[in-house]
Chain length 399, copies 2
C-alpha cells in the first residue's frame, strides 16, 4: 500500500472510468466517474447523519444493502443537495438512462455527488457524457479517483491483499476529502472494492464496523457534509464464510479505510500537518471518542500545531470540553505526550525544552497521546492543522 | 449604552481598580484587577462545564451563591489551570492576603484568572502588587475592564439603567472574550455589577437565566475555556421584590449581558464581521439551540461570511449537522434569509443576484435567519467570521 503508485490493482470483476464532462468551471478537470461490475455484486454503505442529506443519499439509502449492485455513477462539482423535486427527478432520470445504456435494471444503479449545494443538477451535461464514460471503462480506478476530487490536492487511493485459504484477494479503495469532513457516520465520499468473499448477510454490518475505526475517526473542519457516503462493494458474494475468514477480510478492508482516512486528513484543506491523536485509559469507548472528537475539532489545538507550538494546555482544555456534561470527575489525573515527549504526567506539568519539542513538531505527522488513567479503552483518530490556506480556500468557493 | 464612552457609571457601593503587576510578558499592559464592595453584597455566578476547570472555578463554585461578597481579584496572563496542588495553594494564599489587607474575611474574597494554561501561578508578583491595587480603587470600572484583556483588541463595557418604583438604578458590566469562546454555561470572564434591588434567594437563578440568552449564545471558535465565568454582583440586597420588579431588573441585566456578548463576538480573534443568527420556527428551544450552535461554530459558514460569499448551502449543511441524531424529519422545509434577502424558501432555492447579496454582506454585522417551519420557538446568538488573522494569533501564542 503506497501513495506513490500511478496505477493500482483493481479486484477481479470491477471496471472503472473517470472523464471530463464539463460540470466544473475548470473544464480541464475530471468530474464524472463510474464503477461497474460484470456481475451482480454486494454493496454495503453508511451515509451522512446530516438532516438535509443530498438527493443521492436519500436515493441510495433505499437500495442499501444490495446484492444486485452493478453500477455507481459519481459526479463532482454539484452536490445535488437542496435542489428540491427537480434534483430528485434528475437523479432518477440519470439512473434510468445509465441502466439502459449498460443493459441492467434501474435499481442496480447507485449515484453519488459532491460539490456546491443548492445549484440545479446539470443533468443534460452528464447525460451527454454517458457514452464516453462507458467507453472509458477499464480495470483501473485511477481516473475515477481523480474524477471525485474537489479541493483535494491529491487523489487518495490505497490497497491491501488478503489471503483466504490458499487464494489471494485484493481490496482497493479511493476517496475524496478536504473540507466538510467530520466524524459522524460516513464522512466523505469513499469507495472500497474487493473480490474477497463476503456473505450478503454480513456486508452491511461489516461496512458499519469498518467505518467506526476509520472514517468516523477523521475530522478536517468539524462540518459533516450533506453528501458523505462510504460504500463497500464486493464482487465475490458467497453463501457462507468462517468467522475467522470474515475477520481477515474486515482487517484488510479496515487497513484500506484507515489509510484513506489518513490521506484525507493529511490533505485537509490547507493542511501542513497530519495530526494523529490516541486517547487511551478510558472507562468506555464512548468516553475516549468524546475526547478524541473534541481534540480533532479544536481550532485552538489545530492552530497551535500549525505553529509548532507545544501549548499542551489547549489539549487539556479540549479534552475537558469533550467530557463536559459527562460523569468524568473534575481535574482527574491526565497524562499528555506530544511526539512521544511527556508534557503532563498524571495531572502534574512536566518541565520540557519548548524549543526541542517545537522542533520535534516540525514533521509531517504530529502524534498526540492522552491517557485518562481510568480504564482500558482506547481509540485513534486523525485531523490536520488549521492554516491561512484553509481560510483562503473557503472564503471564496462559490463566488 | 455605548462603546464610545471613556468612563462608565458604576452602581452605588462598588469600587474597582486595574493595574500593571508584571504578570504579562508585555510589561506595559494591565494584568491585575479588583472589584470591591463597601458592604456585604450578593453574588450569583455560572462557570465553565469544562472537566478540567481552573483553580478559581473550583474555588469560587464552593462560595456560590454568596450574600457576603466583598471582593473579587482577577488576573490576566496566567490561567491558574492545570497547575496542580501548588496552584490551589497559591490561590488560597492570595485570598488570605487580600482579605487581611481589606479587613474582611477570607471567604468573602473571590478570584478569577485568564491566560496560559499549565504555567506556575505567579503568586509573588501578584502579592507584591496588592497594596497598589487597593490604593487605586475608585468608582469606575475602566481600569479593571482593561486589566482582564488578553488578545482582546477593545475593552468591553456596557451599562443600562432600570427604574424600580421612583428610583433609578445602574447595571454596569464588563467582560473579556476573544478566543476559547463557545456557548456552554459561562463562556468567558464577565462581570455585571448593579445597585438594583435583588433578594438573595433570586440571585443565582437570575444569573443562570440571564446567561442562557446572552453568554450561552455566543461563540468565537467553539472552544470552551477551563476558566469561563460570569458573575452578577448586587450591592443592594433586599428581603423581597415583586415579580414584576424582578423581571425589570432581569431585563436590564440581560440587556447588558447581550451587549457584552455581542462585543465579545465582534472582537473575536481576527474578526471582521459580527454574525447574528436567529433560528425561529422550532418545535422546542433545544431544537433551535442545536441549529444555532452548529451555525455559530461552522468553520465553513464563518469563512464564507469572511469572504462575503452568499453560499447558503453551508448554512443548510450546518443546520442539518446540528439536528443530526434528533427526530427532525430529513429535508423538512427550511427557509433562509441573509441580510433580510431570502435565498431559500420552504426548501426551494430562490434566485437572487449574488453580487447584490455579497455587497449587502459587506457590513460590520451580517444577519442570518433560519425558519424551521415547525413551531413557535426562537433563539438569537452571535459569532464572528474566521479569518487569516485568527490563525496568526493562535499559531504562536505561548512560543
Amino acid at each position: 500500500m503506497t501513495e506513490t503508485h500511478t496505477s493500482f490493482p483493481l479486484p477481479a470483476g470491477f471496471l472503472c472510468s473517470g472523464i471530463i464532462s464539463g460540470i466544473k468551471e475548470d473544464k480541464s478537470k475530471k468530474d464524472l466517474g463510474l464503477i461497474h461490475t460484470k456481475k451482480d455484486a454486494l454493496l454495503g454503505a453508511v451515509y451522512t447523519q446530516n438532516k438535509f442529506p443530498s438527493v443521492h443519499v436519500g436515493y441510495c439509502r433505499n437500495l442499501t444493502p444490495s446484492n444486485r449492485f452493478r453500477a455507481l455513477i459519481v459526479n463532482s462539482g454539484n452536490a445535488n443537495a437542496a435542489t428540491g423535486q427537480k434534483g430528485i427527478q434528475a437523479n432518477l432520470h440519470l439512473t434510468v438512462k445509465l441502466a439502459s445504456l449498460l443493459g441492467i435494471e434501474q435499481n442496480q444503479v447507485f449515484t453519488s455527488s459532491t460539490g456546491i449545494i443548492g445549484r440545479p443538477f446539470p443533468i443534460a451535461t452528464i447525460e451527454a457524457s454517458l457514452g464516453k464514460l462507458i467507453e472509458n471503462l477499464q480495470p483501473d480506478c485511477t481516473t475515477v479517483a481523480e474524477a471525485i476530487m474537489t479541493t483535494d490536492t491529491k487523489k487518495k487511493i490505497a490497497y491491501e491483499t488478503v489471503r483466504i485459504g490458499d487464494k489471494h484477494y485484493t481490496v482497493t479503495g479511493f476517496a475524496k476529502g478536504s473540507g466538510m469532513i467530520h466524524p459522524n457516520m460516513a464522512t466523505m465520499l469513499a469507495y472500497i472494492l474487493t473480490d474477497a468473499p463476503i456473505p450478503f448477510a454480513e456486508i452491511q454490518s461489516l461496512t458499519a464496523r469498518v467505518s467506526e475505526k476509520s472514517f468516523n475517526c477523521v475530522s478536517v473542519d468539524g462540518d459533516t457534509s450533506t453528501n458523505d457516503s462510504f460504500y463497500l462493494i464486493c464482487s465475490n458474494p458467497v453463501a457462507k464464510l468462517q468467522q475467522r475468514e470474515l475477520e481477515s477480510v474486515k482487517h484488510a478492508v479496515e487497513k484500506v479505510a484507515v489509510a484513506l482516512a489518513k490521506q484525507i486528513a493529511r490533505d485537509g484543506e490547507g493542511a501542513r500537518h497530519l495530526i494523529e491523536v490516541t486517547v487511551c485509559g478510558g472507562t468506555s469507548i464512548e468516553t475516549c471518542r468524546k475526547v478524541l472528537r473534541a481534540i480533532l475539532t479544536s481550532s485552538l489545538v489545530k492552530t497551535a500545531i500549525y505553529g509548532k507550538d507545544p501549548n499542551w494546555g489547549r489539549l487539556l482544555m479540549a479534552a475537558g470540553n469533550g467530557l463536559a456534561g459527562s460523569s468524568f470527575q473534575n481535574n482527574a489525573p491526565l497524562s499528555i505526550k506530544i511526539q512521544e515527549i511527556p508534557v503532563l504526567v498524571a495531572g502534574e506539568p512536566v518541565e520540557f525544552e519548548e524549543a526541542v519539542l517545537s522542533t520535534a513538531m516540525d514533521r509531517e505527522t504530529v502524534r498526540i497521546e492522552l491517557d485518562l488513567h481510568g480504564g482500558t479503552y482506547s481509540i485513534t483518530g486523525w485531523s490536520c492543522d488549521l492554516t491561512e490556506e484553509y481560510i483562503h480556500i473557503n472564503a471564496d468557493y462559490t463566488t
